[in-house]
Symmetry: C2
Subunit: 224 residues, 2 copies
């Protein structure tokens, strides 16, 4: 289903080489629930960006549904991202000049969903993350945790078959975090694949398998 082999991502900064990912192998089956953990700077977001078809490796291969992702052009990558993948970014990446509602509608607009239907779906997605009374606020009129929840609602709005969530509860109190994890658990129960990067053990506890990164390599991969 999702197969990463000997993936490397190497950056150059001045004269130095930064090995963000340094030989990663990972196989994920459809419907799995995976947590990715590791110290700050260990390569988690880099790995997530590769999985989410937002970035390409320096070397190595990534096959998704049997297709070699490195062989796809920009249009094909954009299609996969829109149809299959929901991505919650560590830094949210919301459109600053438009409302929470519009931000959540965005994947549905790309997907060609009609106006009435997409508005209804976006409203429900925002209600599920507790933001029914913040739909018309723009990102700078929202708290940090509210922006994070808009990013989560946007990732969930077209019920993706693969959810990639990069530290989705970093700005949330424990009650709100628990509500978000319930949404992720339900998505997984419905047969979808969920991959969550987290620093917190009680968030990782929702997953069925925990992969730990250190200095761009996988150092442990433990299923329940």
């Amino acid at each position: 289903f999702l197969s990463i082999r000997d993936i490397r991502k190497i950056y150059r900064v001045g004269n130095e080489e930064v090995r963000a990912l340094d030989g990663v192998d990972l196989v994920v089956s459809r419907g799995e629930y995976l947590a990715i953990m590791g110290a700050s700077g260990s390569g988690k977001s880099t790995l997530m960006n590769l999985l989410g078809c937002l970035d390409t490796p320096t070397s190595g291969s990534y096959r998704l549904n049997g297709v070699a992702v490195e062989g796809l052009n920009d249009e094909e990558l954009a299609a996969i991202r829109n149809e299959e993948i929901g991505f919650v970014f560590q830094t949210f990446n919301l459109l600053a000049r438009t409302t929470a509602l519009r931000n959540v509608e965005l994947p549905l607009i790309y997907g060609g969903v009609g106006r009435t239907e997409r508005r209804g779906k976006a409203e429900r997605a925002l209600e599920r993350v507790g933001l029914a009374d913040r739909m018309k606020h723009r990102p700078n009129e929202l708290s940090g945790g509210q922006r994070q929840r808009v990013a989560i609602a946007r990732a969930l709005v077209n019920e993706p078959s693969i959810l990639l969530a990069d530290e989705p509860t970093g700005n949330l109190d424990s009650t709100t975090s628990a509500e978000i994890m319930e949404l992720f658990d339900a998505l997984n129960d419905a047969g979808n694949t969920v991959i969550v990067v987290t620093h917190e053990d009680d968030i990782a506890a929702h997953a069925h398998r925990v992969v730990t990164l250190c200095d761009g390599k996988i150092v442990s991969d433990v299923g329940k």
Copy 2:
């Protein structure tokens, strides 16, 4: 030392009124170590921005060292912020087009510190947060937790008498978080005032007093 009385911060969004702070009274003594907790959207960042002289209330008063902050002009506010306050923003607010080192030097540049001295101080500040090998990276060449640590180093670099840290460990693993909390504890041991917004009980445990917000009001204020 720091006295907030009947502070309100009210926003208008369309026809609606949002009461971000709805009558807050708070007195903090010099050298105290305070944690501010509360649900996402309860008003914590709004309160921190007021304390940090980055924002003004809709009504109510704020006296800092006996001076009425609402009576100060922009220059005077900027002087207080630079000389007395170190602020770690929930969204980091780094300058995107310059290096980690330059970002940390910024408060020292404003403070008129000479070039050699400020470079030394900035380098040491980055070493203390574990970023000795990332000084020449720009923010988009850093992980989320590394950006957060640059923001922390910048707030600590001129040993502020008041540190205001808004969710400083949200993007950090537990080992790195513990290192950051040691820096804050040391700052407080040296007699400085530390106020940390956090969602995590084990971070709040470092403080001597915990203030909890709900819907823009203080609902509990418990010292150890």
